[in-house]
Amino acid sequence: MVSDILRVRVIELAARFNGEVEENLGELELTVDGRYILEALTDARNFADVPCDFLHDLCGMDLGDHLEVVYQLSSLRGPQRLRIIARVERDNPVINSVTQIWKGSDFLEREAFDMFGLQFRGHPNLKRIYMWDDFEGYPMRKDYVIESHEQRAVMRVRKEGE
């Protein structure tokens, strides 16, 4: 059940950023190019009557030919729900950080960086959060090879003289 007023606002927003609006299973979804994400989220946050001002979730997604950043918006004061998807290139996954809008997106962006290698421009402390610092590769990408237990080099081999 998507309210009509929210649908109108989202269609207006999509027209400004050349985005696509989809609706399935009662959820409204807006897909935009990664370049416009900061403007799109700021606008969604300030929608008149139906502000989507709470970032519920932020996650990465691997589609094979490109990556996506998925933002799940909601509000603490109303029933409005919105999903905004930002498309980014696979080879150069740079997107603006939203930590200036929601301070709490800090960890969520670090996780997306850790798992998908998404580079958040303007993030204050973009470091791996779950994996160790010298871990190589981005485990949640579809082309990441899961090695068998025997092959896995979890133990660091000591260099000579260490």
């Binding site: 399935n24 519920h56 603490l76 960890f107 779950y130 485990p139």
Partner: protein, 367 residues
Amino acid sequence: MMIEGTQEYSLNMGPQHPSTHGVFRMVVHLDGEVVTKVEPKIGYLHRGLEKMAESRTYTQFIPYTDRLDYLAGPHNSLGYVQAVEKLMDTEVPERAEYLRIIFAELGRIASHLVMIASGSLDISGWTPWSYCFRDRERILDLFEMTAGNRMTPNYFRIGGVSQDVPEEFMPALKSFLEDMPEMIEEYYGIFFGNEIAQSRMKSVGILPKELAENLLITGANLRASGVQYDVRKAEPYGIYDRFDFEIPVLYGCDTYDRHFIRLLEIQESKKIIEQAYKDIPAGPVMTKVPKVLKPPVGKVYHRVENPKGEMGWYIVSNGSTKPARVRIRTGAFVNVQMLPEIVKGWKIQDLVTIFASMDLVLGEVDK
């Protein structure tokens, strides 16, 4: 402000430390015994559940969901199975819906009891700890007699629950509900009304409302900062819209209120279970679902109110037997971020109390 001739030093707390309730590490920067900065370090319990989900079928992933918040197993699986059911448009039998609510709310009570218990233990209150664990044991017994497991029951299935409850379940549940008012009075008397507990916790670690919203804090921690928001009311899932219950809210924003709101929530959960106990119909507990589940292509985002905060399940199906993506948004993971904001200026023993009041469980933080 540093006194002349002294220097700041950093101290590692954890990952193996009794007050961090699991494998959580924090680098604490100290000026004497006053905390100037805290850096949380997580990932010691990271099992890669999201990656695992992609190589398992929809049904095979249910036992893993119990291991997220292992103190309240049923509610995690509830979120997952309901998300998949939404994707497949499956109807769940009435009796199963009621059993799910009973189990989920019993899990919430068990989780909050552990929180109150460990919170009191962190300020050296051993007796409240033993009271809470004594009563939690009865909930775990109820899980055990139904599903065979105590903390991770693996009871819910896509389309219902695995089996009906045994004969002795309902009388045991009834006697537990009857004893609850007395238990709550006991916790209040020995812990919340205690002078030492109050002076250690009141006005310690203030999390103002605006900061909490900006940090995306959810669950009981948000409600203790004066925001009356609960997914069970705002966006009722399952059959939560049939029950009459309140959302407790406190305005103190401090460590005491974050503990006390759990006690109030236990009372509301009790109300829900009592109504479910009264109304539960007879009938089947599992609907007919195909042996091999193949949800249609689509995406779904499903929110549930976990005891530790809001949990979100974003499931993307590509039409095959395995999900293309399972994203788990856990409340505790986001809630960790409040720690560095609210401990500044407090002493190291207050850090332990403040940490306990956040109610983190590392299974949920690290996924």
